[in-house]
């Protein structure tokens, strides 16, 4: 069902720290991990799960560290991976950056955390805000013994009681990321929006919040079908949201954690025009040169503006002597990523810009063929959501009856935005 042990390894496979939870697998099996990983990589059979006679390794890689879990049983492997990612998140919240150095610097706390996060291989409390109340880096300075926060076993396991703010405020960010995949002849293969509502909550006590959106299902069920609404295809909520309540009447009600968190995410397929469209003409003259003609078009409303637009155009790794010409923005050759990056600080809607690039190619061709990486686009459009989602209200009720102000911001940005070239 669960992990037998957790290891954190450096990039060479040396164990930095480990914790044995079940004692059913010899801890030295980890010595086989790195050689096996190399072998699988060589064979092109690399998967995040490696099976051996003694056990199964499941691992993730982050910042040049491997987090490895072992098991001998038919473990719930989805749980293991989600947990490993959560582990990274908790440690990052504790030590800012999870890396080799921060592990050595904090090994005592890490042992304490590993003890609290998992018991016998079963994940327990993983909310770092709550953990920080009784597992602290300055533990040795405290004279009084720490107590378990009530939240650990409470139904509301993500918020402690007795939080106080002089000014009660809530910030809501509605962030929509546009994922796009277009093929080389200009057809959009996939276009979807992954939205997220992120909150920063500075509220005293145990406030009850209710969020109102222009959700199509809700509008239709309450007879407001004609108003402008958005059909959310799949919604995922932070654990604080009462899911059964949402299932019944689409009400989003919750007691929020303190501080910053992601309240919900949603996904919807769009049929809108790609916000920024790129047309590319690439002429390769083998052994001599390659020429690029890139046209960028903004296809959103004129009154909106995209900021920090960056168009990343892949070029062959053996290209040399770059030459650029453009009407706007700056163009830089980034040989370390084999790309040309065209940045436009401010790109208003309904405009079209052009950039030309020219590279020399060596006369001797390189042996291994290169892939055809897609053109990628990064951008941010403030005060705008592609889906048209709107926060209609955020009701805040606390028994002390204070007034709190919600602030809402909208922003649309690129997600996985790829346009294939030919």
């Amino acid at each position: 069902m669960s992990c037998s042990a957790i290891y954190i390894l450096d990039v060479k496979g040396k164990v930095l720290i480990s914790r044995n939870y079940r004692g059913d697998i010899d801890m030295s099996v980890i010595d086989k991990f790195m050689p096996l990983l190399m072998e699988k990589e060589e064979e092109g059979l690399l998967t995040p799960i490696i099976q051996t006679v003694d056990c199964t390794f499941a691992y993730i890689k982050t910042n040049n560290l491997y987090l490895v879990s072992t098991t001998k049983k038919n473990a719930n492997i989805a749980l293991v991976f989600v947990f490993l990612h959560k582990l990274v998140q908790v440690m990052a919240e504790y030590f800012k950056e999870l890396e080799e150095e921060s592990i050595r610097d904090n090994f005592v706390v890490i042992y304490e955390l590993l003890d609290e996060l998992l018991d016998f291989g079963y994940p327990q409390t993983t909310d770092s805000k709550i953990l920080q109340e009784y597992i602290t880096q300055e533990g040795h300075k405290l004279e009084i013994q720490p107590r378990i926060p009530v939240a650990v076993t409470n139904a509301v396991s993500w918020r402690s009681e007795g939080i106080k703010y002089r000014k009660n405020e809530v910030f809501l960010d509605v962030i929509e990321s546009v994922n796009l995949l277009a093929n080389s002849n200009g057809n959009v293969l996939r276009s979807e929006i992954v939205g997220a509502i992120k909150m920063r909550v500075y509220l005293s006590g145990m406030p009850e919040l209710r969020l109102g959106l222009n959700d199509k299902v809700l509008f239709e069920s309450t007879g407001r079908g004609k108003s402008k609404s958005v059909e959310l295809e799949d919604v995922k909520f932070h654990q604080c949201v009462r899911l059964s309540r949402f299932e019944i009447d689409r009400t989003i009600s919750f007691i929020p954690p303190d501080g910053e968190f992601e309240l919900m995410s949603y996904r919807l397929n769009t049929h809108v025009k790609p916000l920024i469209w790129i047309e590319s003409v690439i002429e390769r003259h083998a052994h001599s040169r390659v020429e690029y003609m890139i046209k960028a078009k903004s296809q959103f409303k004129r009154r909106s503006t995209a900021n920090n637009v960056e168009i990343v155009i892949p070029v062959p790794h053996d290209a040399d002597s770059p030459k650029f010409k453009t009407t706007i923005g700056t163009v830089k050759y980034a040989p370390e990523q084999n790309s040309v990056n065209w940045t436009i600080k401010s790109f208003p809607g309904g405009k079209e810009y052009l950039m030309r690039a020219h590279f020399g190619l060596p006369s001797v061709e390189c042996e291994d063929s290169e892939g055809k990486p897609p053109i990628q686009v990064k951008f941010e459009i403030p005060y705008f959501t592609t889906s048209g989602i709107q926060v209609r209200y955020l009701k805040i009720i606390e028994k002390s009856g204070y007034q709190a102000l919600p602030w809402v911001r909208y922003i649309t940005q690129n997600g996985d935005y790829q346009l294939r070239t030919n």
């Binding site: 069902m1 059913d24 993730i60 749980l79 490993l84 016998f120 299932e247 291994d368």
Partner: protein
């Protein structure tokens, strides 16, 4: 200040130094020393020698120090069991277990929990004695944090000493915790119970969940942490609800979990829901609603971290096989992104093929072609294979797929070409006589093939189509030069291919066949190769005609879906969604040792639902073993029994002797000249559109050979069966200006071995004259599976020319007179045939009552075995037998006054079903 300084002491007398520091009176010094010990332990140094000194520090108020000492204790108690026990024995009054027990009563719940948690982790038998009392208390502790820790501790104890847990009544206490007021305690108790249930010695769960507990769990589900939700959902997936109502209510209460941000919660919820849907399969509406709700969360899983995506994709692969409807519209989300990790790319490809259908095939193919030009070799190979699989799966796309493969072959990228050739071999097998025109292109790439599978495939193609490749002998000869260096599968394939070539074109290939036979039988160490060589040799020398029958026998058709999981395994794996088993696609018993594998899970039996009516594809082994499959196919008997050879065996034993003359003067190759065949659909419409009512229903004559194709000869015809004798009834008309004579007829090999029983004996046909001729047929001819099954290709010769046409036999002429089954035999046979072989059909426009129907059918050799009246419906149980001994069992459900009837058919050769249905249609409507 950081902890890294603790790692830096590497002086010589380190252990000694640490020892004295540990025994220092100052608390601060002591703690520093313990930290140094733990640091050494972390980097893998053996500090077990300090055991008594470290354990001595246990008596402290400092929580941090206490935790470190406990950690040390857990680490070394196991690896140094003797010392641990010694420590226990020597300091039994104080250390360590009694201190632990004392800590279990500490006023601070954090320390109580810590103590009970640690005790469970000291996996030394002797310590368990000290554990029972404190554990019992902690399970009843007032603080939920302690109770939830104690719950897990029961599972730990069970792992060390299962007897103790049962004897001491901990199971009962654990069960009580399922009703605890705190959701976290409930969740951990469930986790502990599931673990214990899975590891019982006899594999039987110790604690069964009751409806009551299920309700409590469902309530706790809304309140506990995300992880607790996973524990609860996983244990719910082992529960079998009492009735449909309960199943439905569980579904309703679990569905909201699909909106949880944690992917593990979502997948576990999916597992429970799919299991419940299986129970509720009868309620189509409910299942459809559920299916709709399942799709979006599954798609969203593809936006999670790559490792989670991988697990999700492996599971989706199972779900798509079990419930193809759920994701049938979601093809696009499985398109591969440039920056996906390779393991995600490969899994996405697999699912794309599973979802490929006529609707989306264009998109899929253009994607696959794009992938085939990428750089990652493994991915490219799989993409090329995927194109081949699409061709086999989605018939109308075959031509496009072949064209795409040809384009790819033109790229001359070595591994692409090889992969393409391997899949083209499969396409040839699926669609015989359709795409052979590309063989020449394939042959151009012969020299570049260096992988055994590709070489073997190419050799197979050459052998199979030896008659169409002019220089087949030269090509094969070139392979023989390096015979000894070839891989075994290529050697086997070469042997077979050369023998095929010899049987097809014996003129100039005798040297070649002798050469390969001697290579195989005399120079090889491989027993398989030698055996096969000897078999061929004997066959060729004793009975060349039989050799032809065997070696050139028809291969069973390749099935549509490759590597489908076997249904029972699939059902088992569905019960293990989100676990390792679902990723490996293997049952837990295959990789978990001993008892902890748990009992075998399977989906509950469906209630009130009819078996799926869609015929399931037969499972054939995956790509890797396909070539092996092909190899063995040559010797295996085809689906229909091999009938007697056309030519009587000669006694001439000389390998190169006169017996082969027969081969040389073989029949005209009808195969390649079937172009005149009229479209089959129109033909069938004609056959069944008109009515006539003879004793046994004979369809009216249709035009087989129009005068303009037959140089003036026009043939109309039909088939009939009279007194067990099949005949082909023809009307021959001469519309030419000259007399026709010298008529002869020959049939191509066909599915049922139909052949003329006597030569055609037609007098001279004068211009303008028309005459009726009935050709008696038998079923002793050579068998080759045709598509459609009832196709018969005919060659008619006269003094003018040879004409070819294809016609469809109504299958009822093949129903034999001895097609009755004993009632009991009928019943057992019906039960023995797997439900996958059951097909249903609705017959419309039935005339007459049940008895009339029954007697009408008997005239056509469809025999009614039994008749039953169930709830106002007449059920007729019928059987029939085809000339090639295929039995077909049927159940006809008639309602008086209603002209439609439901027909269920079961047969071991279910492919005859559509034709039988046609027969029913035509018989019952006339």
């Amino acid at each position: 200040m950081t902890d890294s300084k603790y790692f830096t002491t590497t002086k010589k007398g380190e252990i000694f130094e640490l020892k004295s520091e540990l025994n220092n009176d100052k608390k601060e010094k002591k703690k520093e020393a313990v930290k140094k010990v733990i640091a050494s332990m972390t980097v893998g140094k053996d500090v077990s020698a300090l055991f008594p000194d470290v354990v001595n520090c246990m008596q402290t108020d400092n929580l941090e120090l206490k935790k470190l000492v406990y950690l040390y204790l857990m680490n070394y108690a196991k690896s140094q069991p003797d010392m641990a026990i010694m420590a226990v024995n020597t300091f039994v009054k104080e250390l360590p277990s009694s201190q632990l027990a004392k800590d279990c009563e500490d006023p601070n719940p954090l320390i109580r929990a810590l103590a009970v948690r640690t005790m469970g982790c000291i996996r030394v038998d002797k310590i368990t004695e000290y554990l029972c009392e404190p554990l019992r208390k902690c399970l009843k502790d007032e603080d939920p944090y302690v109770r939830k820790t104690a719950a897990v501790c029961v599972a730990k104890l069970y792992d060390i000493s299962s007897g103790l847990v049962e004897d001491q009544g901990f199971l009962e206490q654990l069960k009580e915790l399922l009703s605890d007021s705190n959701p976290m305690v409930v969740a951990n108790a469930v986790a502990a119970l599931s673990e214990i249930n899975e590891s019982t010695p006899n594999g039987q769960p110790l604690v069964e969940l009751s409806t009551n507990t299920i309700n409590k769990l469902l309530t706790a589900l809304n309140e506990c942490t995300e992880w607790g939700q996973v524990f609860i959902l996983d244990s719910l997936s082992n529960y079998s609800p009492r009735d449909d109502r309960e199943a439905q209510s569980i579904c309703e209460r679990i569905t909201p979990r699909l909106a949880h941000a944690n992917a593990a919660v979502v997948l576990s919820a999916v597992k429970v829901l799919i299991k419940m849907m299986e129970i509720l399969a009868g309620d189509t509406e409910f299942c459809n609603t559920m299916s709709k709700k399942l799709a979006p969360p599954l798609v969203t899983l593809l936006s999670s971290e790559p490792e989670v995506q991988y697990v999700a994709l492996r599971n989706i692969n199972l779900i798509v096989q079990k419930k193809p409807d759920i994701l049938k519209h979601e093809m696009k989300v499985f398109f591969v992104k440039y920056n996906d990790p390779i393991y995600v790319k490969l899994e996405k490809l697999d699912i794309m093929i599973r979802l490929a259908s006529q609707v989306n095939i264009a998109q899929v193919l253009s994607e696959l072609k794009e992938y085939a030009t990428e750089v990652d070799v493994d991915f490219v190979r799989k993409a090329v294979r995927a194109i081949g699989r699409c061709a086999i799966k989605v018939e109308p796309s075959a031509e496009r797929c072949v064209a795409t493969l040809l384009d790819l072959i033109q790229t001359k990228v070595n591994y692409v070409v090889q992969e393409a050739i391997v899949v083209i071999k499969d396409i040839f097998r699926k669609y015989p006589n359709k795409y052979e025109s590309i063989i020449s292109t394939l042959c151009e790439n012969l020299d570049t093939l260096d992988e055994p599978e590709a070489r073997a495939s190419m050799v197979w193609i050459i052998g199979e189509y030896a008659e169409r490749i002019d220089n087949a002998d030269e090509l094969l000869d070139s392979f023989l030069e390096g015979f000894a260096d070839e891989n075994a599968q290529v050697q086997l394939q070469l042997l077979t291919a050369v023998v095929k070539l010899f049987l097809k074109r014996p003129q100039h290939t005798q040297g070649l066949v002798q050469h390969v036979l001697s290579l195989a039988t005399q120079d090889s160490d491989n027993p398989d190769l030698r055996d096969r060589g000897f078999i061929y040799w004997r066959l060729l020398s004793t009975d060349p005609a039989a050799a032809k029958e065997v070696v050139l026998a028809d291969k069973p058709l390749i099935s549509e879906e490759t590597d489908l999981l076997e249904p029972t395994l699939l059902d088992e794996l569905i019960c293990h969604i989100s676990s390792l088993a679902s990723v490996y696609h293997k049952p837990p018993t295959a990789f978990v040792e001993g008892r902890s594998a748990g009992i075998r899970k399977t989906l509950p039996a469906r209630q009130g639902s009819e078996e799926a009516s869609a015929p399931e594809a037969t499972v054939i082994p995956n790509q890797e073993s396909l070539i092996g499959d092909l190899l063995s196919m040559d010797l295996g008997a085809p689906a229909a029994p091999v009938s007697a050879p056309i030519v009587a065996p000669t006694s001439n034993v000389d390998l190169l002797g006169g017996g082969l003359d027969i081969l040389l003067g073989g029949a005209p190759d009808i195969n390649s000249a079937a172009a005149v065949a009229p479209s089959t659909t129109g033909l069938l419409g004609d056959i069944f559109g008109l009515s006539a009512a003879p004793a046994m229903y004979t369809p009216p004559k249709v035009c087989w050979l129009p005068a303009d194709k037959g140089k003036g000869l026009e043939i109309h015809g039909t088939f009939s069966r009279r007194a067990g004798q099949i005949s082909m009834d023809m009307t021959l008309t001469n519309k030419a200006m000259q007399a026709m004579s010298g008529f002869a007829v020959q049939f191509n090999k066909n599915s049922f071995g139909i052949a003329p029983a006597s030569p055609m004996n037609v007098p001279v046909l004068q211009p303008g004259q028309s005459l009726e001729y009935s050709l008696t047929l038998n079923t002793a001819g050579p068998v080759q599976r045709m598509e459609p099954l009832t196709t018969l290709q005919v060659a008619i010769k006269n003094n003018v020319d040879v004409f070819y046409y294809a016609c469809q036999m109504p299958i009822q002429v093949l129903f034999t007179e001895d097609g009755t089954l004993d009632k009991r035999v009928f019943l057992t046979t019906w039960r023995d045939i797997p439900s996958a072989n059951e097909v249903q059909y609705t017959v419309n426009d039935i005339k007459g009552n049940t008895d009339a129907v029954s007697s009408k059918m008997t005239l056509s050799n469809i025999f009614t075995i039994a008749k039953r009246n169930v709830e106002g419906q007449d059920m007729l149980y019928q059987s029939l037998k085809l000339t090639n001994n295929i039995w077909v069992l049927l159940e006809l459900k008639l309602q008086p006054g209603v002209s439609t009837a439901t027909l269920s058919l079961k047969s071991r050769s279910v492919e005859v079903a559509p034709y039988v249905f046609q027969a029913y249609d035509s018989i019952l409507k006339n």
